[in-house]
C-alpha cells in the first residue's frame, strides 16, 4: 500500500535528487534555526531571571548544554550513517557520515570553550579534570581521528569507508570512556563541583534551553545539507547534472 515511501527514499539516495532536495530544505532549516535561536537567546539572556547562586554567569548554559547535546547527537547520527554506508554501500550515507564529523567537532569545540568560560568564574579555574569535561575532550579527539583518517586517503570513497569504520568503533568507545572516566574520578577524588545539579530548574530557564536545543538541531540540518551539496558537486563533477548546474549558475 504505502509503497511510495521506500520508492521515495530510494530516489532520494541518488545524488541529483538529493542535491535538489537539500537545496530546497536548507534555507528553511536555516531560517528556523535563526528564528528559534534568536528567541532562545532573548529568553535566556533577557527574560530568564538570574540564578540565586551563580548570578548571570549561568546564562552560558543556554549554549553550553545544547552544544554538548549536539556533540553527542551528531556522533550518534554519524554512527548510524556510517553503519548504513558500510552495510549497504550507499554513497550518500558515506557523504552524510563524513560531513557530519566537522559539524560535530565544531559543537564539541564550542562545548569545551564555553564550559571553560563558565568554569573560570564558578570553579576559579579554566580547566578541571572533571568526568564530563574529560569525556568531551576525548570525544573531540574521536572526531579529529575520523576527519584525519578520511583525509589521509587519496581515494575519497575508500577514505570515507575507512573513517566510517573508525566512527563505528568510536560509537562503542564513547560509553566505555564515560564509564572509565567516572571510575577514575572517584579513585582520584577529583573536583566534585557540579554546574548542573539534580535540582529542579525554573520554567523560565527551561524553555529557552529547549528552544536552543531545537535551534541547534535545525542548524545541524542546514549545515549538513550545505556540506553534502558541496561534496556531491565535487564527487560527481564529471556527471552531466553537475555540468548543467555549473552552466545554470553562471546565467
Amino acid at each position: 500500500m504505502a509503497n511510495w515511501i521506500p520508492t521515495w527514499l530510494h530516489r532520494l539516495g541518488s545524488p541529483p535528487t538529493f542535491y535538489r532536495f537539500a537545496g530546497a530544505v536548507r534555507p528553511w532549516a536555516l531560517a528556523l534555526a535563526l528564528i528559534t535561536g534568536a528567541i532562545a537567546a532573548y529568553g535566556g539572556l533577557v527574560l530568564a531571571p538570574a540564578d540565586y547562586q551563580q548570578g548571570d554567569a549561568y546564562r552560558i548554559i543556554f549554549i553550553h548544554v545544547p552544544s554538548a547535546w549536539m556533540s553527542l547527537f551528531i556522533y550518534f547520527a554519524m554512527g548510524v550513517a556510517a553503519f548504513i554506508a558500510l552495510v549497504w554501500r550507499i554513497k550518500l550515507a558515506e557523504v552524510v557520515a563524513m560531513e557530519s564529523a566537522p559539524i560535530g567537532a565544531a559543537f564539541t569545540f564550542i562545548t569545551l570553550v564555553t564550559g571553560s568560560l563558565w568554569g573560570k568564574p564558578m570553579w576559579g579555574t579554566w580547566w578541571t579534570w572533571d568526568a564530563r569535561l574529560t569525556s568531551e575532550l576525548v570525544l573531540l579527539f574521536l572526531y579529529l581521528g575520523v576527519i584525519g583518517l578520511f583525509h589521509a586517503f587519496e581515494d575519497r570513497r575508500q577514505g570515507a569507508r575507512a573513517a566510517a569504520f573508525l566512527a563505528l568503533i568510536g560509537v562503542v568507545n564513547v560509553p566505555i570512556v564515560h564509564f572509565s572516566v567516572n571510575w577514575w574520578n572517584t579513585l582520584h577524588q577529583g573536583s566534585t563541583v557540579r554546574l548542573l545539579g539534580p535540582s529542579h530548574i525554573d520554567a523560565r530557564m527551561l524553555w529557552p534551553l529547549l528552544t536552543m536545543m531545537l535551534a541547534t538541531k535545525c542548524y545541524y540540518v542546514a549545515s549538513l545539507f550545505g556540506r553534502v551539496r558541496a561534496d556531491l558537486v565535487a564527487m560527481e563533477s564529471g556527471k552531466d547534472w553537475v555540468k548543467a548546474l555549473a552552466v545554470e549558475e553562471t546565467a
Binding site: 576525548v138 581521528g145 584525519g148 583518517l149 575507512a162 569504520f165 573508525l166 572509565s180 571510575w183
Partner: protein, 227 residues
C-alpha cells in the same frame, strides 16, 4: 593442496618470529626508547624519592604505551610492501585467525620485552617492591589490549601514505580506558586499596577484544585495501 588451519597458523607464527629474530635490532628499539623516556623523568622532575614513587606507575604505563605506538606502525608495513598481505587476504584460512596470529607475534616481539624490563624501570623510579607484581599483571593485560586495538587502527591506515601522527590521534581516545584501569590498579595497590576490580575489568576487556578485535581488524583491512 590445502594446508590445515592449524598448520597454517603455526607456519605464520614461525615465519613472523623468524623475521623478527633476523632483525633483532628492531626489537631492541622500543625497549631502548622506554628506558630513555623513563630516565628523563627524574631529570625533569628532580630526584626526590617520594615524588618519583608517586608517579612511577603512571610514567611506566605511558612510556610502555608510547613505545608500543612507535612499533605499531610497522605491524603490516613490510607485508604491504612485499605483497604478502594480499596473499593472506586470498588464503583459504580465515583471515581473522591469521591476523590474530600476527598480532600475537607482534605482541611477543614488541610488548613482551617491555614487560620484562618494566620492573627495572619501576626500580629506577622507586616503585615499592610489593606493587611491582601488580604493575606486571596490569601490563600483561593492558599491552595485548593495546596491540589488538592498535592492530585495527593500523589496518585502517594500511591504504594511506604516512600514518604515524594519525595513528597516535586515533589511538588516544581508544586507549584512555586501558590506561585508566591499568594505572588505577597500580595506584590502588600503592595506596593499599583493593586493586582486583580494575584488573578484572582489564581482563574482561581483553577477553572481549581477543574475540572481536581480529574480526574487526580483518574487516578494516578489507576496507582499506579494497582498491
Amino acid at each position: 593442496m590445502t594446508v590445515s588451519t592449524g598448520a597454517a597458523c603455526a607456519a605464520l607464527l614461525r615465519r613472523d618470529l623468524l623475521l623478527a629474530w633476523r632483525r633483532r635490532g628492531d626489537i631492541a628499539m622500543p625497549v631502548l626508547y622506554a628506558v630513555i623516556v623513563a630516565t628523563l623523568f627524574p631529570f625533569a622532575l628532580g630526584p626526590e624519592e617520594a615524588l618519583l614513587q608517586r608517579i612511577a606507575g603512571g610514567v611506566i604505563l605511558v612510556t610502555v604505551l608510547l613505545a608500543m605506538l612507535l612499533a605499531l606502525d610497522a605491524m603490516f608495513r613490510g607485508d604491504i610492501e612485499d605483497g604478502s598481505l594480499e596473499q593472506l587476504l586470498l588464503a583459504p584460512q580465515p583471515l581473522a585467525l591469521m591476523l590474530a596470529i600476527r598480532i600475537f607475534a607482534h605482541w611477543i616481539t614488541t610488548a613482551l620485552p617491555l614487560i620484562i624490563i618494566s620492573p627495572l624501570l619501576a626500580g629506577m623510579l622507586h616503585l615499592p617492591t610489593p606493587v611491582m607484581g601488580v604493575l606486571v599483571v596490569a601490563l600483561l593485560l593492558a599491552t595485548p589490549l593495546l596491540s589488538l586495538i592498535g592492530a585495527i587502527l593500523v589496518a585502517l591506515t594500511a591504504g594511506t601514505r604516512r600514518s604515524g601522527m594519525l595513528l597516535a590521534l586515533m589511538l588516544l581516545p581508544l586507549c584512555v580506558p586501558v590506561v585508566i584501569f591499568a594505572a588505577g590498579a597500580v595506584a590502588a595497590a600503592q595506596q593499599g586499596l583493593p586493586w582486583v576490580a580494575p584488573i578484572a575489568w582489564l581482563g574482561a576487556a581483553l577477553v572481549l577484544a581477543l574475540v572481536l578485535a581480529p574480526l574487526a581488524c580483518a574487516a578494516a583491512l578489507r576496507i582499506a585495501l579494497d582498491a
